[in-house]
Amino acid sequence: MFRLISLIAVAGTAALCALHYATFGTRRWRPGESGPSVYRFSVWERLIHAFGLLAFLTLAGTGFWTVVVRRDPLDGWLWMVHAVAGWVFGIAMVLMTLLWAVDCRFASHDWTWTKRFGGYLGGGGKLPAGRFNAGQKVFFWCSVVLGLGTLASGLALMLPVFDPPFQESICQVHRYGSLLFVISVIVHLYVATLANPGTVRSMVVGTVDAEWAEHHHPLWLDDTGGTHDGGSRE
């Protein structure tokens, strides 16, 4: 059952992203090609994010491949890799949480962003957003909640103290929590790449185009005067 739900959920999410891209993506704002750059994420932040992403992909790959493709409980070397990746992911998650929790506090302007769905369903113009917009904040806190859930349930499976039927229930929590996480990450990846060209650059080289920043995070740009966390307008 979980296998079917997983396949439908992942395929459905991908299909929705594709549909969105076909409908809105191509008409959305695009950055200029050679504007000045703004320093957005420090090396430390990018490194942690990269580790988190890598660990997440490993976890999703080992977990879902076993259950969905091999149709067997996770065991053997895959279990070992999953367990190690889980630990790396946990550390990355807690560091990301500590790094970005303050910036991800909800503010009043987030309501304006939310009412217009961040412009993702059409409508142009700038929307108020600090370092992170309301969508990113929602994703962030969802990740924290799902990360916490999957981490705790995974721990309860790896270091069991309950009886097998309850462990089966925990396993279901872990599976469905992970599935939600995967879906949200697919959306996150879509939004950060195809839906918003230029965004992924911030997590790769640490800078963004000033014009991009002005469009997506105007309040952050105003607050920092072009600098943030030691960064500067280049």
Binding site: P73, T97, W141, D163
Partner: protein
């Protein structure tokens, strides 16, 4: 005319229905009463004659005729205990094979008609039903191959003399304290097949030995008035006190067999453990009987209780009597906790363990050890037959537990033995040679102990004869054989034991001596061979001994005693004969065989070496003897003009064969693979199960569960012994197991770290996430009235 035909037809149909109904009813249909019927019944012999308890008779009662009228014999005969040799009978999961153990030839051959893995089909290796019954009747329940469809198929069989082995109903259901399984074993050994059930039941005493009777004897011939000592036909003398005034016997019967009846064939005990030290199965200790779980109806298809049995048999009710069925319950069936069976919580056990291992892995058999424990089983080691002589055998060497992956992928604890047999290799196929075929070649090669033993017996007789000549002198000690600093003495079985006597200094080469007053002394008093005539005492000693070494003409030559160049023997007149053989120079006295001018030792030198190497240990012979055996088999085949394949010896997990130069070579071969079968008893309680200590019970760096060693053991003393590590047998990944073992040690660190991470995330969530959420909710709450305004 038409009316008559119609009435006749109707009557015929009616008769058919009545007869058919009668057949159904004959099957012992249960009327619903829970009482145990009193079995006060007439005994019927196999010719439908009622047995009279008053007179002795050569005809015993027949279970087919006595029990059959109420309990349909043919239905019962289809049961699991009686159908192994029947075509089309379900094999079910593997079980303990019959193991033909022949110590004389070093054979340990697992056999099964059911085609269980690792076994040989008796039919395919040339074992007839007659021979099988001779070999294993001691622990057969009757019927099956003991009641062959064609008693004339094997020309060597003697079914007409012995009778067939009917199902021994009383062997299982007899509740009388007179029921004597040991007696059954003895009667079967005497080939008193027809009489065994009667004798074992205790309702009558059986005397006579069918195996000694001529092939032409039949049960109708009755007793032989001319022979009351040796070839005595079996006769039954019933105990009249066990019959009522109408001549009916009162059988004490139980529908559910008492455990002691099951245990005659199904006992397992650890070697080197005393009976009082053993715990029983936890179920037995709680008062349960074997038959409480291993149930059956009239068809006698026992519930064996393994995973998947219900599906195989197409009967879901069977699943209710498995471990899981009683303790956990089965879907759409019985709830768990049957009759108070504890429902296990298995707290802390990852569910994958329950999916991939049978319950018995953690709960049954001996616990895993660096070397699995050695056990004896009733059927393999001939247990439970009592008498002055010991019937049990140390062989085969069976160990438990060995964890083996079954065909469904689940691990199951097994008992394991390694086959040993002489065989013929053709292409890649090894076909076993039966002990009956190899036996004649083994004499003189594999019977080293017996050869020495026979000599010691002769020396003993010779010394006794000498002692009779000199009653006032203490001349007759215990003859011994001395080699390599050890002194070997004769034991009651005709073999040898290593004695505690100190060997004379320098006694490295084999020689014969006697022990008197705790000292190892020469058999013949010392004398000077160059001094002319020998003393009369010495002459008598030599003559007495050589006379007993070869009472008749011996193909090996004339027994002699050699000192220096002088050869002493016994003349035709019975006096000492002296011969001078200048080419012979015996620095130490030699007993040997003289043929012309050649002196050969009493026993071949390889025999002495074999004794030196193998007496006192469990292995029976050495590689040198295997070489000689293989040469003997090859030579015999060459003489017969038989050039098919080559002869090999399979033992200790290896195959031994001769190369072109006549040297022994060792290789692996599938025929040498071990034979194993699942076990389910003795069940240990939860507190003594695997994993009750911790995960490291199995996942420790040196845990025997994965890293125990299973050594192949067989009759051959060799360095080429196959050793399998448990994880190899389980087909597990060694690197993964090692990583796992290391990982398990880091569990606490992992757990603490992970919980710290989770706590920090939860704290951040509480501090910022929920606060932000609260702020958002408040913002919404403030806006709402504004909109209303």
């Amino acid at each position: 005319m038409k009316k008559t035909a119609l009435v006749t037809s109707l009557l015929a149909v009616l008769a058919t229905v009545v007869i058919a109904h009668g057949e159904i009813e004959q099957g012992g249909h249960w009327d619903g009463s829970l009482t145990t019927p009193v079995h006060r019944i007439p005994l019927i012999d196999d010719e439908d004659q009622e047995v009279s308890p008053t007179y002795g008779s050569t005809v015993p009662f027949s279970t087919r005729k006595t029990c059959g009228p109420c309990h349909d014999y043919s239905t019962v005969a289809g049961g699991f205990h009686f159908n192994s040799s029947k075509k089309g009978a379900s094999a079910g999961r593997g079980g303990e094979p019959w193991i033909w153990v022949d110590e004389r030839t070093g054979t340990q051959l697992p056999l099964s008609y059911r085609g269980w893995p690792g076994t040989w089909n008796p039919e395919e290796v040339g074992i007839t039903e007659w021979r099988f019954t001779q070999l294993f009747g001691r622990h057969m329940a009757g019927g099956d191959m003991g009641e062959p469809a064609d008693t004339l198929a094997d020309p060597r069989s003697r079914w007409d003399v012995s009778g067939t082995v009917e199902i021994n109903c009383l062997g299982c259901h007899g509740a009388s304290p007179r029921q004597d399984h040991s007696e059954w074993g003895k009667q079967m050994a005497r080939e008193n097949f027809r009489w065994a059930a009667t004798a074992a039941s205790g309702i009558g005493a059986v005397t006579g030995v069918a195996s000694r009777l001529p092939d032409t004897w039949t049960v109708h011939d009755g007793p032989d008035p001319d022979d009351a000592e040796y070839a005595v036909p079996p006769t039954v003398q019933y105990d009249p006190g066990l019959f009522d005034h109408k001549g009916r016997a009162l059988f004490e019967m139980n529908r559910e067999p008492p455990d002691r009846n099951c245990l005659y064939c199904h006992s397992v005990s650890q070697v080197d453990m005393e009976k009082w030290e053993m715990d029983s199965d936890v179920h037995s200790a709680c008062g349960m009987k074997c038959a409480d779980c291993h149930r059956n109806g009239l068809d006698h298809n026992m519930v064996r209780g393994y995973d998947g049995e219900a599906d195989e048999r197409g009967d879901l009710a069977v699943a209710e009597f498995s471990c899981e069925g009683c303790h956990l319950g089965v879907p759409q069936g019985a709830l768990g906790g049957r009759l108070g069976a504890p429902r296990p919580s298995h707290k802390g056990i990852p569910p994958v363990h329950l999916d991939r291992m049978a319950c018995t892995v953690c709960h049954a058999g001996a616990g895993p050890a660096k070397m699995p424990v050695r056990v004896r089983t009733s059927r393999s080691n001939r247990l439970g037959i009592y008498g002055v002589a010991q019937w049990y055998t140390d062989s085969p060497y069976i160990v438990e537990p060995v964890y083996v992956k079954e065909s469904d992928g689940k691990l199951v604890p097994h008992r394991m033995m390694w086959p040993a047999f002489w065989g013929r290799l053709e292409g890649e196929t090894v076909t076993p040679l039966l002990p009956d075929e190899v036996g004649p070649f083994a004499d003189g090669i594999l019977d080293a102990e017996q050869q020495i033993g026979r000599m010691l017996t002769s020396f003993g007789e010779g010394l006794a004869a000498l002692a009779m000549l000199y009653p006032d002198q203490d001349l007759a000690g215990e003859p011994v054989f001395v080699i390599a600093g050890k002194v070997y003495r004769l034991n009651v079985d005709g073999g040898l034991d290593v004695s505690d006597y100190a060997a004379p200094v320098g006694a490295q080469t084999g020689h014969w001596a006697q022990v008197r007053d705790g000292k190892v002394l020469p058999l013949v008093p010392d004398f000077d061979p160059e001094a002319g005539d020998v003393e009369i005492l010495v002459e008598h000693a030599i003559v007495s001994i050589v006379e007993w070494l070869a009472p008749e003409e011996d193909p090996r030559g004339e027994p002699v005693y050699v000192r220096g160049t002088r050869v002493y023997g016994r003349s035709l007149e019975g006096f000492l004969s002296v011969l001078d053989l200048p080419d012979t120079q015996a620095d130490t006295p030699i007993w040997g065989w003289r043929r012309y001018d050649e002196i050969a030792p009493l026993v071949p030198e390889f025999t002495m070496r074999a004794v030196e190497e193998t007496v006192g240990i469990e292995e029976q012979f050495n590689e040198e003897q295997v070489v000689l055996m293989l040469k003997a088999l090859n030579d015999a085949a060459e003489e017969r003009g038989d050039a098919t394949g080559e002869f090999v010896y399979v033992c200790a997990g290896k195959m031994f064969r001769l190369d072109g130069a006549g040297k022994l070579t060792v290789s692996d071969h599938p025929a040498a693979a071990p034979c194993s079968w699942p076990i389910a008893h003795d069940v240990r309680p939860a507190g003594q199960s695997l994993g009750a200590g911790s995960c490291t019970d199995c996942h420790g760096p040196a845990a025997p569960f994965f890293f125990g060693e299973v050594s192949a053991f067989g009759p051959l003393k060799t360095d080429h012994v196959a050793v399998r590590i448990m994880h190899e047998i389980q087909e597990a990944d060694l690197a993964l197991l090692k990583a796992w073992a290391r990982g398990v040690r880091l569990r606490r660190v992992y757990a603490v770290g992970a919980w710290v991470v989770a706590a920090l995330m939860a704290a951040a969530l509480a501090r910022y996430g929920f606060a932000g959420l609260e702020r958002a909710v408040r913002a919404l709450a403030v806006r709402k009235p504004a909109r209303l305004d």
